[in-house]
């Protein structure tokens, strides 16, 4: 282990750099790319709570993005409720839904859980594409919902520039990382890891594995839905394909898996490495080589799974720790 000062210093530097970045990056395009990068880092970190720590493979998280986006948007369009409040309303709904999915599926083998989450997410998307009204709520089917940019300002969660969005998602990311860190050191975190790796042994020691997984699922879906509202307010237009498509679910899972599931740094690392690939290949090769970034994602995913199944964070962490040890003059004893 490294001394705590040597571990904290780089963190502080990274945080400072992240907060100062918009001063340097003034291009709207690059800021947009950075916002999406943080958004995905946030989404994958939320996914990681259940996909990483609980050792199952959820492949339908887009459903929660969609629930969050639609709830806050419907509330603000039809009832004038601030998206900030709608954000948490959506998150609560998502958490309940997450528990409902998890309740019967966590007892099953891994593949069933993955299948159930896919079917569930696709089912919700199909429903939203077919429904114009859900009771008093306007959904508009495949046309989706447009948010008219009338009132800007913090209260309305709507801004003319990209900088405020940047800071909001940055704070959200920092918060979710802190939460993950806290959970990973809490009893719940240990229960999750134990239940994910050795369910029978954990059960025998009196750990309620199913309940720990449900708690993780509830938190994960809650947090994912918050990002859905952010997405809606950032793009100001949502439709079932844009917030609930299978591709979103898979991209979240892929990024986390490549970065390293079950670790705190893994999902962020994955987003840092993969989001630029996806954005730049879309910008430069979008017309000539469609889908290139998904091929790259797939190839990287397969290679990582074959050679580095715990994700890229593992070799990088080792490398980093060695470098830090060398920097501190080799005074540290070998770990």
């Amino acid at each position: 282990m490294l001394p705590s000062r040597a571990r904290k210093l780089p963190l502080v530097l990274v945080a400072l750099a992240a907060f100062g970045l918009p001063l340097v990056v003034t291009s709207a395009t690059y800021l947009h790319i950075l916002i999406l990068l943080f958004l995905y880092a946030y989404l994958t970190t939320s996914w990681n709570l259940v996909g990483g720590f609980a050792g199952v493979l959820p492949l339908g998280h887009a459903a929660f993005v969609g629930i969050g986006a639609y709830t806050s948007t419907i509330l603000s369009l039809q009832y004038g409720v601030s998206p900030w409040i709608g954000m948490f309303a959506g998150a609560l709904i998502a958490a309940v839904v997450g528990v409902i999915i998890g309740l019967p599926t966590f007892k099953m083998r891994g593949a069933y859980f993955a299948l159930a989450t896919i079917a569930f997410a696709e089912g919700i998307r199909v429903m939203f594409e077919n429904i114009d009204h859900l009771g008093p709520f306007q959904i508009n089917g495949p046309r989706g919902l447009q948010i008219p940019p009338l009132k800007t300002g913090l209260v309305h969660f709507m801004f003319a520039d990209k900088e405020p969005y940047y800071y909001i998602i940055l704070v959200m990311l920092a918060a979710v990382l802190a939460l993950t860190w806290a959970i990973s050191r809490s009893k719940l975190g240990f229960y999750l890891v134990a239940g994910g790796e050795e369910p029978e042994a954990a059960q025998a020691l009196g750990v309620n594995v199913a309940r720990a997984k449900l708690a993780a699922m509830a938190m994960s879906s809650f947090l994912t839905a918050l990002a859905g509202t952010f997405w809606a307010q950032f793009t100001l237009y949502i439709h079932p394909k844009s917030v609930m498509s299978l591709d979103i679910s898979f991209e979240i899972a892929f990024i986390a898996l490549i970065g390293g599931r079950g670790s705190i740094a893994g999902p962020v690392l994955g987003a840092l490495l993969l989001r630029p690939v996806s954005d730049f290949s879309r910008i430069y090769f979008g017309d000539t080589l469609p889908g290139l970034h998904l091929i790259i994602f797939g190839v990287v995913l397969v290679l990582v799974m074959l050679f580095q199944p715990r994700g890229l964070q593992e070799p990088l962490t080792r490398f980093y720790q060695q470098a830090m040890r060398r920097l501190s003059g080799g005074r540290e004893a070998a770990p």
Binding site: A111, A114, G123, V126, G291, G298, L301, V302
Partner: protein, 295 residues
């Protein structure tokens, strides 16, 4: 009343083709105990192989089986040998490595987007083939001829696989591995070779399903996704690993899709299928004919 019978009939025919596609998935699951998430993409590859074989030679669509089956078998064999075998070897103690799901999902994305890159997003179909648009009149009912061909192909394929598993020495080795891989290894069966063969077989069956679709279905890079999710649903419905269950599950889905639109918007039937799937997952995850041990 008549049109409901007509729809049911056509639903059963189409459903048998779904079942045929799911058959490959169930064969792979039966032996490897993992779900191949790339199955729909393998079907898509089979469709493109058949499409080009028919287009370049101008033969009857079903003659393309001569090319499709061996090509797909080798493709599946190598896929398992190169990408999936290493995982089984490194995670020996895990009965159902989640890593395999992840790798096959990666393969799904690679194949779908490679097809998009190479063939473009356009819908292709074979306009002048002897089966396209043909209808058979039974009294006042119309039955699609290409789907009828698909139906009988599905039954024949299921029968052939059944015979292979029951009557041949290799089939017995496959069944032994599927029951208990360690015990089978102790009897001198090379379990990894059996995995390769099972995966090749499943992929070849996906190819056969592709051939039955080519005469009347559109071919496009993401066509596999439609079948992927349907195949998952079918195998869970019928019971993972069960050959008859795959066919029956397919027919159930086919009938829902074909009769449903008489009573509601066509897209709603899709939601009904998902709901049925979730209901089965929650209430009877072993499906109609599945073994309880397998879930």
């Amino acid at each position: 009343m008549l049109f409901i019978i007509e729809d049911t009939l056509n639903g059963i025919l189409m459903g048998a083709i779904y079942g045929l596609a799911a058959l490959g998935l169930t064969v792979i699951f039966g032996v490897l105990k993992v779900i191949n998430f790339a199955h729909g993409s393998l079907l898509m590859v089979g469709m493109y192989v058949a499409y080009w074989a028919v287009l370049l030679t101008g033969v009857h669509p079903y003659l393309s089986l001569i090319v499709v089956v061996p090509v797909m078998f080798v493709f599946g064999y190598l896929l398992q040998d190169i990408l999936i075998k290493p995982i089984f070897k490194s995670e020996k103690e895990v009965r159902e490595p989640i890593t395999v799901i992840i790798v096959t999902t990666g393969v799904w994305y690679i194949l779908d987007n490679l097809a998009l890159l190479i063939f473009g997003p356009q819908y292709r179909n074979i306009q002048d083939n002897p089966l396209r648009g043909k209808m058979l009149e039974i009294g006042e009912m119309m039955v699609s001829v290409p789907k009828l061909w698909g139906f009988f192909t599905a039954l024949a394929t299921a029968l052939l696989i059944y015979l292979f598993l029951q009557k041949t020495r290799m089939g017995r080795a496959v069944r032994a591995t599927s029951l208990d891989r360690d015990a089978a290894s102790l009897q001198g069966i090379n379990q990894y070779r059996i995995y390769n063969i099972a995966f090749g077989l499943g992929t070849a069956v996906a190819g056969v399903a592709g051939v039955t679709l080519v005469p009347f279905y559109n071919i496009f890079p993401t066509v596999g996704v439609l079948f992927d999710i349907k195949c998952f649903i079918i195998v869970v419905l019928g019971g993972l690993g069960s050959i008859g269950g795959a066919l029956l599950g397919g027919m159930i889905i086919g009938v829902i899709e074909s009769v449903g639109p008489q009573f509601m918007t066509a897209t709603w039937t899709e939601a009904i299928v998902y709901a049925l799937f979730l209901a089965f997952l929650f209430l009877k995850p072993s499906g109609l004919f599945g073994v309880k041990y397998d879930w």
